[in-house]
Amino acid sequence: MEKILEVKNLRKTFYKNRSPFPAVEDVSFHLMKGECLGLVGESGCGKSTAARLIAGLLEADRGSVGLEGEEILGQKGKKKRDVYTKLQMVFQTPQDSFDPRRTLGDGIMESMRNRGMKKDRARERMYRLLEQVELDRSFGDRYPYEVSGGECQRAAIARALAVDPLLVICDEATSALDVTVQAQIVELLKRLQRERKLSLLFICHDLALVQHMCQRVLVMYQGKIIEQGTADEVIQRPREAYTRTLVDSVL
């Protein structure tokens, strides 16, 4: 197996009223091809910031991010855009992740059109993607506020798949959904991962879900990765006191 993502010494400090707040401190990890890696932690631990640093939505202060062995931090302009389309994200609030004035189909086709694909072909492909996420073709013409949270999240997954990404980052992709809907989305993600050999970085605060989805888990606390290992190792035999509290808090 090859490493698809390698993150080294990633660091980001925010400033609030001039006092520094280290959001991500010296984070290093890697992700294998076809693997689902879980990243757990409570709110404010820096897991979403880490995701945005890797996806190029925020500028890192220091560190390196290698995608298939190629350094992607510090790229500029068109090159940056090309590199980063290989890396897609699924967001926590599905309805907010689609432009409220454009249809879901437009959102899914945007990346294809940006790569110069003809309109008809993009549309065809958009329909195929909708099928893969078990949505009707008609969803392509609907607006985000016209569909339910679960349907919208399916469309967001279709959008992420549109570019055949090397890596998909799910940032709390299921936590805003109702439990029954959540279960369906999780099944969908698992199926897609199996069928398309997808590599996933699965950011989540729900330990049970991470155990269900992921092979390996990273535990993040106050901007640092404090523990990592296979899901069962970390959950059943936590080494760190914080991880233990986290596990014990689950009802």
């Binding site: 279960a183 049970a208 269900h212 035999r237 986290l246 014990d248 689950v250 009802l251």
Partner: protein, 263 residues
């Protein structure tokens, strides 16, 4: 048969003429914990808001009755309900920081609350508040009292909220998703503290939540709601052990459980 604490009979609640709760009947006995579970849009929060007479704009109970200790409170005015709210029925909100006035300290609001209902000295109120914090197993009560809500974390605010609801020793505590805005570690503590409240004061609790795990953990009776209707209602053992309705089974199956392995 004893008189139930709160009885809701065939209630229908409408917002802007559209029913969001239909034909709902529930009974809460003294000292019991009832968990109302449901997904978003199931109308679960509306049930307790209706009981408190705190439906938001455009909402009204359109059918059925609500009784508190045998007294009909279905369409009671603010004056009548004002006497019940606080000393009889307390409420804990989902977003604890937002349910307290942002520009006054917790202490000031605490005095305001108690003095509205009884004649007593500030010193005594203060002592009572600290005692409740103590009973929750929470030692930083002084600190909370002196603060403004925005200075406190979500967990601290929720403790302030629970203390504020318990200070008048209500017989019934209505809790609207009290833990869902909190981090898991804090969540577990708040649940423990609420259970302690029942042990110490014998308060009955109605707990509205989307988290079926939480209900299994603390409720005596469980009501499952879906799209405004009651799907299933029974003791915890009945609902979690052998659910009869498909929806309840689906709901339960959807909840992932942590495999803790052998320790």
């Amino acid at each position: 048969m004893t008189q139930p604490l709160l009885e809701i009979a065939n209630m229908e609640v409408c917002y802007f003429g559209k029913p969001v709760v239909r034909d709902l009947s529930l009974r809460i006995e003294p000292g019991e914990i009832l968990g109302i579970v449901g997904e978003s849009g199931s109308g679960k929060s509306t049930v307790i808001r209706a009981a408190m007479g705190l439906l938001k704009n455009g909402g009204a109970v359109t059918k059925g009755e609500i009784f508190y200790k045998g007294q009909r409170i279905t369409h009671a005015g603010d004056r009548e309900l004002g006497k019940l709210r606080g000393p009889e029925m307390g409420m804990v909100f989902q977003n604890p920081g937002a349910s307290l006035c942002p520009v006054r300290t917790i202490e000031k609001q605490l005095y305001e609350t108690v003095l509205e209902h009884e004649k007593t000295s500030r010193r005594e109120i203060r002592e009572r508040a600290l005692e409740i914090f103590q009973n929750m197993g929470f030692s930083r009560g002084e600190e909370i009292l002196k603060s403004y809500p925005f200075q406190l974390s979500g967990g601290m605010n929720q403790r302030a909220g629970i203390m504020m609801a318990m200070i008048l020793k209500p017989t019934l505590l209505l809790a609207d998703e009290p833990t869902s805005a909190l981090d898991v570690t804090v969540q577990a503590q708040v649940v423990k503290e609420m259970m302690k409240m029942r042990e110490t004061y014998g308060t009955a609790i109605v707990m509205v939540t989307h988290n079926i795990g939480l209900v299994e953990h603390m409720a005596d009776k469980v009501a499952v709601m879906r799209q405004g209707s009651l799907v299933e209602y029974g003791t915890r053992e009945e609902i979690t052990g052998s659910p009869r309705q498909e929806y309840t089974k689906k709901l339960q199956k959807a909840v992932l459980r942590l495999n803790r392995g052998q320790r």
